[in-house]
């Protein structure tokens, strides 16, 4: 992969309560990485900092861009994406949701449509393409979140609890998509989960967060 992420000694606290207490790790090769931990362990905060949605109190999350000098913030942000646990779908059709990320990049209509339709097909939502996204089930919404992210072809894909609180059928589909993206598409997927079985099923590179500290699994 051309984008490499190095996290150094990150600390973060909310209202005086420490959430991350000096976390360091790096993601250099493509594939699937899992941040595992219980609720409140700091894994979502770490993911948001890595995805440049939040700024750490101390330490840094630095992207190495493969020889290219430091990119403007927005250009770097457009090479990565994070699918939030709640996804945050727009009150419009499934297709328009997936087109959003492509349209804001100024992509041509025809190319954008092709990419969006391919992403929708990849997550198995073709039959719901023209349906309002807010009418989708919880599992389908997660799959839409994945389609929206995959359409913009990120070099690093962050997923915050992508299969939590969904039915078993959708969970299987989501896990298969993640495995395919990591292995077949040679992309970097960094995801969180609190489920040990799921973590081990998806990756051999599992990091365990406990009370804001990283510890060996």
């Amino acid at each position: 992969m051309s984008l490499k992420l190095k996290v150094s000694n990150i600390t973060k606290q909310y209202d005086g309560v420490p959430v991350l207490k000096g976390v360091s790790l790096s993601f250099e090769d493509s594939g699937i990485y899992v941040l595992m931990g219980d609720n409140g362990s700091g894994k979502s905060t770490l993911l948001r900092i890595c995805a440049l949605l939040e700024v750490p109190d101390n330490g840094s999350a630095v992207y190495e861009t493969g020889g290219i000098p430091a990119l403007p913030d927005i250009q770097l942000k457009r090479r990565i994406t994070l699918v939030l646990p709640g996804v945050g779908v727009f009150n419009t059709s499934v297709l328009q949701n997936v087109l959003y990320g492509l349209n804001i990049r100024g992509m041509g209509r025809h190319e954008a449509l092709n990419k969006a339709e391919a992403a929708i097909e990849y997550v198995g939502l073709v039959h719901k393409k023209d349906q309002n996204a807010l009418t989708l089930s919880s599992g389908e919404t997660r799959r839409l979140g994945l389609a929206r992210a995959l359409a913009i072809e990120p070099e690093i894909l962050f997923l915050d609890e992508p299969a939590a609180f969904v039915d078993s059928k959708n969970r299987e589909i989501i896990e298969e998509i993640i495995l395919n993206v990591g292995k077949e598409r040679h992309r970097t997927v960094i995801m969180t989960t609190h489920n040990r079985e799921r973590a081990e099923r998806l990756s051999e590179r599992v990091f365990f967060l406990e009370n804001g500290n990283l510890r060996p699994v």
Partner: protein
């Protein structure tokens, strides 16, 4: 009771005959209220967006002020605009008093806080995750703000339609600043007030029926917009 039925029949006949005076009054009403609504929306929507999407000092005070101004008494607004536009007022040199422009100004002032308050409420009711999701997909701050505005579209439309309802039914302010001059500043509500005063109910009733019809259409549109917006929660 006969005079009521007779007046009502005459009013219907007047409407069906497409009376020139009646048509002129209706068109001027729609023009004044439409322009006022357009101005209030153009001015009010950015204010609502800044209040709803930016961190600004005294936001709570501003929200309270605009909420209070939603119920501005039209006669007080009329008086205020009259004093500003009268010959001795600061804008008296413009010669706008007793013109349709003065009526548009007065109605804009009445509609502006309604547009700001209701559009602000619509914007802040959008789930914060929408803005975050836009940013995760690569949106700039401006693009993320546009995404939030798009999500609030039904609430924004409701606010604009509610403001239209308010200005269409308003009489006090435009009577003071427009002067109810026949063929020039006479609109539906001022005509109804004047004709009723004269005891001539034919034209007043005809305009009353049309005004109620317009109010019904506005409220029906509002209902449709709200229903469409509410669909996402069902």
């Amino acid at each position: 009771m006969d005079y009521l039925a007779e007046g009502f029949l005459k009013a219907i006949r007047l409407i069906l005959s497409f009376d020139t005076e009646l048509t002129k009054i209706i068109l001027l009403s729609l023009k004044v209220s439409g322009l006022a609504l357009g101005a209030a929306t153009v001015l009010g929507l950015p204010v609502a967006a800044i209040m709803g999407l930016k961190r600004i000092p005294m936001k709570g005070v501003l929200v309270t002020v605009f909420n209070t101004f939603m119920g501005l008494p039209p006669v007080a607004v009329g008086l205020f605009v009259y004093l500003i536009l009268s010959r001795r007022g600061p804008l008296g040199f413009m010669g706008l008093l007793y013109t349709p422009s003065a009526m548009v100004i007065a109605q804009t002032i009445l509609a502006f806080p309604i547009v700001v308050s209701l559009c602000h409420a619509a914007l802040v009711s959008v789930d914060p995750i929408i803005r975050q999701a836009s940013r995760t997909l690569g949106a700039t701050e401006r693009q993320a703000a546009v995404a939030v505005i798009k999500e609030a579209r039904y609430g924004i439309m409701s606010g604009v339609i509610a403001a239209l309802g308010r200005v269409m039914a308003e009489v006090g302010a435009i009577l003071i600043v427009g002067g109810n001059i026949a063929g020039y500043t006479r609109v539906m509500t001022t005509t109804i007030a004047m004709e009723t005063d004269k005891g001539d109910f034919e034209l007043a009733l005809a305009l009353g029926i049309i005004l109620i019809g317009i109010s019904l259409i506005i409220n029906f549109a509002l209902h449709l917009v709200q229903q469409k917006g509410a669909r996402k929660f069902t």
